[in-house]
């Protein structure tokens, strides 16, 4: 049985300014108002680094810091799994534009920021963590792939693992080939054992694809879920906001889904007091 405990959450996306701030929106008691993603300054980056850091790094470090603060875990001692459907759009576009011009001189900083594990690298430096770190890509299913890898790591290695999923938009002309709805990042601190910090546990199962995956009741959140791969996490986040037992089904590859049996740890402090009929899925 694959069961992990969620100890902390971080969230930043269009009209979703932080985990705690987003709870009423995710629980459906407040309307979701789409707005450009506002990335809060991460306490992990000094001011000068903050200005230079690319968007994927700023997003990943912001939600990572938020989740670790909530979990009360030491990031220096915690393994990480980063997952994204692509890289930093601006960086890739700049490199490709330079390489298409007559004078092909790349900036060394742009080049090292172009690797898929750039946010993981900056995270390690900022948190002084020498713990293992993986960076995955599974196109539109990157969130489910990352959650599966993080959960398996937590269970097999019996250690906490932080999952950080993020996606940003591409500038033209790449955005025609790869449209992304809006920049969004989510972080979950997962543990293999229950603790005082645990908000909920999830039991994970791979299932052959049959029937529908969980969707969001709000049209605007559902549009975000469909258009930004990291937002495929929203039904799980909604379950966390409702704090009631729920069956959440996530997209994972053409032929299967990742099924999550969600059980809140402290049902008495449920937000939004929603009945089970309001549980998404």
């Amino acid at each position: 049985m694959m069961r992990v405990y969620i100890e902390g959450v971080g969230l930043c996306g269009p009209g979703l300014d932080g985990w705690t701030e987003s709870l009423p929106v995710l629980a459906g008691v407040q309307a979701h108002i789409p707005a450009p993603t506002r990335v809060p300054p991460s306490p992990l980056l000094p001011a000068n680094e903050r200005r230079r850091a690319v968007q994927t790094v700023r997003l990943a470090l912001a939600v990572g810091a938020e989740a670790f603060t909530a979990a009360g875990r030491d990031p220096a001692a915690t393994a990480t799994v980063f997952t994204s459907s692509g890289g930093d759009g601006e960086t890739i576009h700049e490199i490709l534009s330079v390489l298409a011009a007559p004078n092909r001189e790349l900036s060394p900083t742009r080049f090292h920021n172009s690797v898929h594990n750039t946010p993981a690298g900056y995270w390690g430096i900022a948190t002084e963590s020498r713990a293992p770190s993986s960076s995955l890509c599974c196109h539109d299913d990157s969130f489910a792939a990352g959650l599966l890898e993080a959960a398996v790591q937590a269970i097999v290695e019996r250690r906490p693992v932080a999952l950080v999923a993020y996606d940003v938009q591409y500038p033209a002309p790449l955005c025609d080939a790869r449209p992304i709805g809006g920049a969004l990042a989510v972080a979950l601190v997962l543990a293999s054992e229950p603790s005082g910090a645990a908000l909920a546990d999830i039991e994970l199962r791979l299932r052959p694809r049959s029937g529908a995956v969980s969707i969001m009741p709000s049209a605007s959140l559902e549009a975000l879920r469909q258009s930004t791969p990291a937002a495929r996490s929203l039904p799980l986040l909604a379950a966390l906001a409702f704090r009631t037992k729920a069956a959440v089904t996530l997209d994972y590859l053409a032929d299967m889904t990742l099924a999550l049996d969600f059980t809140p740890t402290q049902a008495d402090v449920a937000f939004g007091v929603g009945g089970s009929e309001r549980v998404p899925g």
Binding site: S97, A100, R104, F111, H116, G121, S129, C138, I155, D176
Partner: protein, 407 residues
Amino acid sequence: MSGTARSDSAMSPLALSDFSVVTSLGAGRARTIDALRAGRSALAPCTFDALPFPTCVGEIADLDVHSLDGEMAGFDCRNNRLAAMALQQDGFADSVAAARERYGSDRIGVFVGTSTSGLLQTETAYRRRDPATGRLPPEFDYVRTHNTYSLARFVRAALGLAGPAFVMSTACAATAKVFGSAARMIAAGVCDAAVVGGADTLCATTLFGFHALGVMADEPCRPFDAGRCGISIGEAASFALMERPSDRHGADTILLAGVGESSDAYHMSSPHPDGIGARLAMERALAAAGLDPLAIDYINLHGTATPVGDAAEDHAVFDLFGAATPCSSTKGFAGHTLGASGAIEAVFCALGIQHDFLPGSPHTRAVDPAFKSQYVREGRQARLNRVISNSFGFGGANCSLVLVRAA
């Protein structure tokens, strides 16, 4: 052991039931071990791109002509072409098909690595943008070429697999780390077998990027040499079929006995000068294998021939192994194949174990006198039972693999 957590730091060994390799040394295992034995390097001046600076690369000539067609046409790009070549070597695809019969297609995972995937395709598309609108050409297929997941999507389709999948992209440590993912996925019961490995191919981004960083040699790279001055980039693909050891596996089967992963927490493109992250990765791999450093017969170094990187790794290796254990970098053979290097060098080690051969280091003339580890320049016959292979990447991602002879 299905579905259970590890009782301590040790991992359950996995068998490399089959493996395949294509580098600029040639396609397939026989050409590869022949080149390793002969000390023959494939590094040559770069003709892949009209570069404004001199450099040598390990280029695979046939990739320009063998396009993917039929159902696979949409995947056509240099990286997936090379992956296809590797899947076709040495009956590898047949071994996977047999495993598919045993377990079912949904019980075989695909965990592969790449750094640049089909990025070359997008480089070309950017040069062919519509002059009026700036749009990319309509035939550009982002999902099946550029996207980092393209490689796993292709491998899964080509092998008819339907199990869990992702691409690991941790720069030059990617295809070492996928061995760890496979071991954990099988231990957790998520799948019964896994195809691991990966591919990386030449593109302008890496050629100009490493040049911009000032870490690319103009001559063939000289790992651990006093006069080393940077890397030579290569392209390669390699895959391995991982399963629990069983009576199907003979005595010269290679087992993955340990995986060790760490982060440097130091710099995006430069290793910690004392090799702290490198040492941690090796220590964790040995602990997972339940082996003492003295049990290791050979260390395949990351050894890319940068002044800083080789010095840091020598430091880490000497700290942990002293001067007792022979080590070499095989980057002088086919270059630094970036995201593919972890899997390629695992295969070099596997072939070394199976053919009783300890590979040397072409182009290395005189080992840096400041270095203390036992660096081997000339390959030699040697019984290898247990080896460790290092892969270190940008972002401070480190991974070491311990591979052993089954019996």
